[in-house]
Symmetry: C2
Subunit: 352 residues, 2 copies
């Protein structure tokens, strides 16, 4: 199947629908399990034929598992650069998975909630992502997939330390649970740094929009566990849940303070962002994210009415470089993308 | 008469109506004659009773002259700070005339084209200002006023060097002729500095929006003669006319180049300015001037339609601090002015 037939470029995956609990502050909840299959070297040492063998083993384990949501296979080296970047922009693959694509693969469910990366840093990265704040549900789904697959695949597992992984930081549960949050209030009130320090002390970390090593663009953060060893999956989920609840109440407090003490200033920033999004003829990704973030805050606070979360969230996705080029049907220069992005924003950002 | 009864706060004077020739680039043409009356010390040494005597002499000379446009007298020390600043914002008095107001006066015609400052740096500063580019007309008017007044007033005059003035730079004709021009194209193409150097070589100078020592805010410049000695009035007018014609063709060339080579970039700047003016909740004077200047350029170039010059020019005037306070009916803090300014811009800047 071709990328263009599988995805609707103008729509985001389920996880960006803006529904689910805490959806004013929490964008999505996500978990991934790192797994490796016995009898094969870890990814750094593996041969191309062995990679193929793993893909086919995973494929048959999925056929055997018969999930209610079928998963579709894409071989990363069958895709072109634009397709790979497109998958990354939709948060389905990591940056690493788009680079050096030989022998790498991804299985994806149509609604984009389930994806399994094959031959990334580990043989398997089983990912589940849902909109809103619902770690228990995500855990149920990812755990169910993992259990069913394990009946056909023999995982590297030590009774003493748990699942074995390429990188020691993933040894144990192999679980990374993460929640994407939108924290413009904490950034505007300059309270964010103190809070990120506290999160680090609890062995959790705040990454940018596209995971490890990326910037916190548009006031978005992914909060996730740093440690996979020594805590059970349920402890990780419990701790992350408690951190997100704290963050939510801190962000709400910051927003309330801003409304109480700096309302006009806040409205000024939000409306200016809206004015720029509705009028610019040239705009880059980073500026777009920043203004969309403020616009989202405006919608959250009822300052701007008549803009749906669905539209806002779609704009976060479709104004990205690969999405713009998919929409346009061909490769575009940076200048042409900046103009197309501005024109799409003008067209879509109409108050209804 | 009270300032509030004389002026319509929401309207600009005739000179900002946006009519007259070259009105896309030339805002207004202006001349002032510096005159002093025999038998009195120059302003630096004059006593308060002598100042009063001069005001009354000027008043009777005006009564005798019977101009078709009657002039109304305002004593600067009868006015409060806000009134004085209001007159400065309308370009009727100089900064100097608002400071230390004792014994100073102004006579103004209802359409604000004629004003006579009494006891400024010289006893008399006879000013005429008209919208658009028409130095010969302005000269006719100012010269006619000067001649009629001179029949009742005995001016300090030397047959060898001409009119005598407080400052040697005004000796001779006592004439300063100036043209206010809007040069966003020359600023954007960075050609302005070379051109200002050329103007300086011709003994003309480019001052900011409010004359001597003020900044070139909003891409506006006042081009005027530096020398009043050794050139006749008609030579000064001729030279200034030729400079303005040159400037106009250079500005038009710059705008054409921008449209040809950087159209999208230009449109981007203009529409962003428009978006900010229509959406800001807090905006200061300098930012307002900058965006109104770009909006004016957009209207000049047909990029933005449905905004009248009349409205644009009124906004340049009424968004100034004293005008805002007059509109509001009381003294306002900087913060309150910035909010009121934004709200007036939103209300008025509606495409019709």
């Amino acid at each position: 199947m071709k990328i263009d037939e599988f995805f609707s470029v103008l729509r985001s995956g389920e996880w960006l629908r803006g529904t689910g609990s805490y959806s004013d502050i929490v964008i999505s909840s996500r978990m991934r399990l790192a797994r490796n299959i016995k009898g094969f070297p870890f990814s750094a040492k593996i041969s191309q034929p062995q990679k193929k063998e793993i893909i086919s083993k995973v494929d048959s384990s999925l056929n055997q598992a018969k999930f209610s949501k079928p998963l579709f296979l894409f071989l990363m080296d069958d895709l072109n650069d634009l397709d790979r970047q497109f998958l990354m922009e939709r948060h389905l693959v990591s940056l690493e998975h788009t680079q050096d694509p030989q022998g790498k693969a991804i299985f994806i469910s149509k609604d984009e909630t389930i994806s399994i990366l094959v031959n990334e840093e580990d043989h398997l990265r089983i990912q589940v992502i849902k909109s809103g704040f619902d770690l228990p549900l995500v855990w149920d789904v990812v755990n169910n997939i993992d259990e069913k697959m394990s009946s056909a695949l023999d995982y590297c597992f030590s009774p003493d330390i748990g699942y074995l992984t390429s990188c020691p930081t993933n040894v144990g549960t192999g679980l990374r649970a993460s929640v994407m949050v939108h924290l413009p209030g904490l950034i505007m009130t300059k309270r964010i740094n103190r809070i990120l320090e506290l999160i680090a002390k609890l062995s959790f970390t705040a990454r940018g929009l596209f995971g490890e090593g990326t910037q916190a663009l548009g006031n978005f953060f992914q909060i996730s566990n740093q440690v996979t060893l020594g805590s059970s999956e349920l402890e990780i989920i419990e701790n992350l849940t408690s951190i997100i609840k704290q963050l939510r109440s801190q962000e709400e407090e910051a927003r309330a303070d801003l409304l109480l003490k700096h309302k006009l200033n806040l409205e000024n920033k939000i409306w200016r962002s809206f004015g720029i999004l509705q009028n610019a003829r040239i705009i880059d990704s980073a500026e777009t994210l920043q203004h969309l973030s403020l616009l989202r805050l405006g919608v959250d606070l009822g300052i701007i009415k008549g803009i749906s979360y669905d539209m806002l969230n779609a704009l976060f996705i479709i104004t990205q470089p690969a999405h713009l080029q998919k929409l346009h049907g061909k490769v575009l220069s940076v200048q042409m993308r900046d103009a197309l992005r501005a024109s799409i924003l003008r067209e879509k950002l109409v108050i209804t």
